[in-house]
């Protein structure tokens, strides 16, 4: 059974208006458990939109998104949020950290919704920081971090709940070469942990990586496979 | 939670002071004194010392 199954997925923006357009058109895609999949395409091809829909950040206009055989496209807000909280780790292009808080406090955010005790939460945050190699900056305010450090903080936050699926939207867009390679090392750790990872990118750095299982091309909201 | 606990404690202490003051205020003695005077003078008026009536009308109904 596939981890993620997308069937006849469409996303129409501004419906019933003169500037209505299809960001996604009739997408059909299956992703197996533990696979690392790259969504390739230029800006505006629909990669980020597809990630948003898989992550439950928005709802499709039509079609189904089955994760572990559950259609997440039709879930009410409480269940969709719970799904996002427990199953998805999102790494955004602009990192989306909570400014004014420290690295530790940012990583703690998803744990605020749990009933874990203080020690258990501390353990989870430490593990996430170790994986992302950011523990040496744990008490530093995220505003004073470099681009690469901010991304590693975002990665730690994305994995602290030990999600099954990690979605990364243009993870290396704001990084230099050195930090991009650091990201790839972390990607290899995800592989070892058997996480299902979907990366939306147009960075050629991912082209010939051994850890990548599949590359899916997108253009104008459609899959080219 | 520590912050909320500290806040609750601080306000509890503040209101304890307020309640203790309110309970210890001897209003009976004051009422007795006013009663004693009012019995002699009957039609009492509030003792105001405004420079003009206009000032007085600023607070009190004419």
């Amino acid at each position: 059974m596939s981890k993620i199954v997308i069937q006849n997925l469409n996303k129409l923006y501004n419906p019933n208006k003169p500037n209505a357009f299809y960001a996604l058109k009739n997408i059909n895609l299956s992703i197996e458990d533990g696979q690392i999949v790259i969504l390739k395409g230029v800006s505006g091809s629909g990669k980020s939109t597809l990630l948003s829909l898989i992550g439950g950040l928005s709802k499709p206009s039509s079609g189904e998104i089955l994760v572990n055989n559950q259609n997440i496209a039709k879930l009410p807000d409480i269940m969709s949020s719970a799904f996002r909280h427990q199953k998805i780790g999102f790494i955004f292009q602009s990192f989306n950290l909570l400014e004014g808080l420290s690295v530790y406090q940012n990583i703690l955010a998803p744990l605020a919704l749990t009933k874990l005790g203080k020690e258990a939460m501390h353990e989870k945050v430490n593990q996430a920081m170790q994986l992302a190699n950011i523990e040496h900056k744990k008490d530093q305010n995220v505003g004073s971090l470099s681009g690469g450090e901010r991304q590693r903080c975002a990665i730690a936050r994305a994995v602290v709940m030990e999600p099954e699926i990690i979605l990364a939207d243009e993870p290396t867009a704001n990084l230099d070469k050195e930090n991009s390679f650091i990201f790839i090392e972390i990607l290899k750790k995800f592989k070892l942990l058997h996480k299902t990872v979907i990366i939306a990118t147009h960075d050629t750095l991912f082209d010939d990586l051994a850890c990548i299982d599949r590359c899916v091309q997108m253009r104008d909201g459609e899959l080219l496979e | 939670m520590k912050f909320l606990a500290m806040l609750a404690t601080a306000f509890s202490l503040l209101y304890l002071v307020v309640v203790v003051h309110a309970l210890s205020f001897s209003s009976e003695k004051k009422v007795e004194e006013i009663d004693a005077l009012a019995l002699h003078v009957k039609d009492t008026k509030i003792a105001l010392s405004f420079p003009t009536n206009a000032y007085q009308r600023f607070v009190y109904a004419p």
Binding site: P110 | I34, H40, V41, A47
Partner: protein, 370 residues
């Protein structure tokens, strides 16, 4: 939803934006402090005044001529005493003496219980006299002569609300000071045993003496219950200050949700916070701020009014020409305090939670990309 971890994280985020929340906290405390202080002092003064009108006569008659107070002679007493329903009429000497050296008016009241050379003065009068070294006796300077009276007794501090500017003298001495004749009275106290007849008697008095004013006991009690000029004056200024401050506060509150904060909501949503969680978060944060501000405002108002006896504000209510060291009775109207809470805290919360809800229900995918 109200799990310990969640509440702690809500407080963490509150501290992250502490400057904004501190501003809201201070403004709201100020508004509550102002409203509560005025409420406390006005209620306290009114409470004491209500105590003082327990022996209010059935009818008080005062005469006027050309719009000014004018004395009444024995004929008035006789005519009114003849009316059906009237059991007794008592004439009273009452007036104001101008203390030129300090440019103050003293309220001179005739008290038949005092002997010819006895004088009881209020504490404000005593302080004013003492400043000019009138400590044992006082000289009343009238048109005709100088009247020396010994200062016997000082009215107790508890009666300052009615006695502060008063000088109580034997009625004949009072007449001499006020330049009234022996058979003249400033007021008449009319006793009508049957309360149902009071209104009729008052009408009859005014029929006979059209220039006289007949104030019934009910009118006098009503005047004390509605003693404040709520439609204007200090209360109007107070409403305006509170309203303007409140609008500044509400603007700040709305600002807590837009701009950067909009993205914060989107980030939290993307991490798994549902709409209810966002509302709960904002509710927790703003409840902490608003309830603490309210409690602080009320407590500070209590301390200001009842512990320190409301310096400056007291002068607005009592005048500052004569120093009044009144001790305000601790009177707390819980109904009005609850109303202040209701009309303060609810809009305070609503102006954050409603925009937060609106943002939380919107499509977060665009917000997280910006």
């Amino acid at each position: 939803m109200l799990r310990k971890n969640f509440v702690e994280y809500a407080i963490l985020l509150l501290f992250k934006d502490r400057n904004d929340h501190l501003f809201s906290f201070l403004i709201f405390s100020f508004i509550v402090f102002i409203l509560s202080s005025v409420l406390f002092i006005s209620d306290s003064l009114q409470y004491d005044l209500i105590q003082s009108i327990k022996a209010q006569p059935s009818i008080v008659v005062e005469n006027t001529r050309a719009g000014r107070a004018y004395p009444m002679h024995e004929g008035y007493v006789y005519d009114i005493a003849q009316m059906a329903g009237v059991s007794s009429v008592e004439g009273v000497v009452d007036g104001y003496h101008y203390f030129a050296q300090k440019r103050l008016w003293f309220h001179v009241i005739g008290d038949a219980h005092l002997a010819k050379d006895e004088m009881l003065i209020g504490q404000g009068v005593q302080k004013a006299m003492a400043e000019l070294y009138y400590e044992d006796e006082f000289h009343f300077l009238t048109e005709e002569r100088l009247i020396n009276v010994k200062i016997d007794k000082i009215a107790p501090k508890g009666t300052n609300i009615i006695s502060n500017d008063a000088i109580y003298l034997n009625p004949n001495t009072a007449r001499a000071v006020l330049g009234m004749e022996m058979d003249e009275y400033a007021k008449l106290y009319v006793t009508v045993p049957n309360p149902n007849e009071v209104g009729q008697v008052a009408l009859k008095i005014v029929e006979i003496y059209p220039s006289a004013k007949a104030t019934t006991q009910a009118d006098a009690i009503g005047a004390v219950r509605h003693v404040y000029y709520y439609k204007g004056g200090i209360f109007m200024i107070l409403y305006v200050i509170a309203l303007v401050s409140f609008f500044i506060l509400l603007k700040n509150q709305v600002g807590l949700v837009y701009g950067e904060k909009k993205k914060e909501i989107a980030i939290l949503r993307s991490l798994g916070f549902c709409i209810k969680d966002i509302i709960a978060l904002k509710l927790i944060q703003n409840s902490v701020v608003s309830v603490s501000a309210y409690l602080l405002g009320v407590a500070l108002a209590y301390v200001y009014v009842f512990v320190f006896n409301a310096p400056y504000l007291r002068n607005i209510f009592l005048g500052s020409e004569l120093e009044n060291s009144i001790s305000l009775t601790s009177v707390v109207d819980f109904n009005l305090l609850f109303l202040i809470f209701l009309f303060g805290v609810i809009p305070f919360l609503a102006f954050v939670i409603l925009p937060a809800w609106k943002i939380a229900i919107s499509d977060m995918s665009e917000a997280v990309k910006s």
